[in-house]
Symmetry: none
Subunit: 139 residues, 4 copies
DNA sequence: GTGGTCTAGACCACA
DNA sequence: GTGGTCTAGACCACT
């Protein structure tokens, strides 16, 4: 059982995908936040620890953490570690609408270019939406 | 409806994913062959046309085509264009599912980071899905 | 005389200040944007060129550019260079007020800890505000 | 008003500047000596007190004090505390001006990046300047 | 021990 | 030529 302040996230890298390692790390942290496995204040593995776990260079992990710090996904405290931040994005209704439409368009265009139908897409989102523990209704 | 010999494939690129453009192009062609949108003998857009469409350098498109030619996915007929060969691309239902899940996860994670609910997301997809003229059902 | 698309910015580093090189570079770009020496679309010196100019490692320049890309200060086009972006921040009136108060508090606290009076601060801001070509009135 | 033997200095740290905390502390003491806010014999806050005030590790404060002792800026009397020595800190008007200009530039650049006008900035500073009880005139 | 900065140099992707 | 990624290893700042 997780005690707050400690992270039991399992990281893994696809060495062949061509996706940069540091981006894979960032994505896994974002996913973990999205589905509740990581929450505010939880400490990420140390740079050196994760580097050993993944068998990559510490600088590569540091780069992922640095980018997440810039993006306000984590905060780092010199000498003590890297922690999930309580990032809050404040958007008004119109801006929310614009942001959602923008990212949805990119997603649908991509899905369409792979030949997926609206039916398949909606089914998939319903499945994954529950898995990620997305809140069901707008507050 | 496709007339043989002409391609109505819509390509799209994710400029930020870190996945090389030429690999994205190849993958989209493979997906289209696998699900029947492209079949033997259909002509791909010319290098120059596709480069303009995607706003990328023609060399990048040429590289994708060259790579596909090496893999026997397409054949180039000097002077007339690039055509789908009869190489079988095997991508079963499970693999299709994995591809869709992957891009859906990225999308939902991003949406979740902005606090959007499943309800908002589904509404938005239905709206934009019609607008973007996605096919409604799987073929 | 500057032609658009070319940058005549003179960069310089204080090697002894203890301020990281990449942060000094970012700050100088931000300053140049703030006072109009750099505007949307202008190309920054190439990574290698600036590294030679400043006698530092190209990776250090690349890091500065990468951080500015994340912050939407510049956009990079693979293979062609790094350009000032047209970053726009949309904030409503309340958010504007909060943002300004926040950064002003930090500034005043710092100035006070150095012993500067309100009188000195206002004089200094008036001087520098003109120099930076800050717009005088709210639009 | 300062009574000799007690220090009313307000320290502040810029956590993001990249300037080491201990250097920031030293600089603030030097500035205070230079402009008369601190004079010979005045006691600095204890290491532990200042560490709590600034929310940093006591070792960091201790390091700043140790460095100042080496530089003869302060003397430590075992068991009773740390006191300003009679070392002269020379910081003339021009140097003061440069320090203020530096931090003001950082502030204005940031404000400019959010599109604030000189008018808004000055209003905000006047408001907050009173609230934060900045001294109104130079001593 | 923690993270941060910088160098040096290799190799890749793209124009 | 452009920028991007990764490694290896040194040294610093802070807990």
């Amino acid at each position: 059982m997780n005690t707050k302040g400690e992270s039991r996230l399992e990281f893994s890298l696809d060495m062949k995908s061509g996706v940069p390692f540091y981006k894979q790390i960032i994505f896994q942290v974002e996913m973990a936040i999205a589905d509740g496995r990581l929450e505010k204040g939880v400490q990420l593995p140390t740079v050196r620890t994760l580097a050993v776990d993944l068998s990559i260079n510490p600088n590569t992990v540091a780069r992922a953490y640095a980018e997440m710090e810039i993006r306000n996904i984590v905060v780092t405290q010199q000498g003590s570690g890297t922690f999930i931040s309580d990032k809050k994005i404040n958007l008004n209704a119109i801006e929310r609408e614009q942001v959602l439409s923008q990212i949805t368009k990119v997603y649908l265009t991509k899905a369409a270019s792979f030949g997926f139908s609206l039916e398949e897409i909606l089914t998939n989102i319903n499945d994954l939406g529950s898995e990620l523990k997305l809140k069901k209704e707008t507050v």
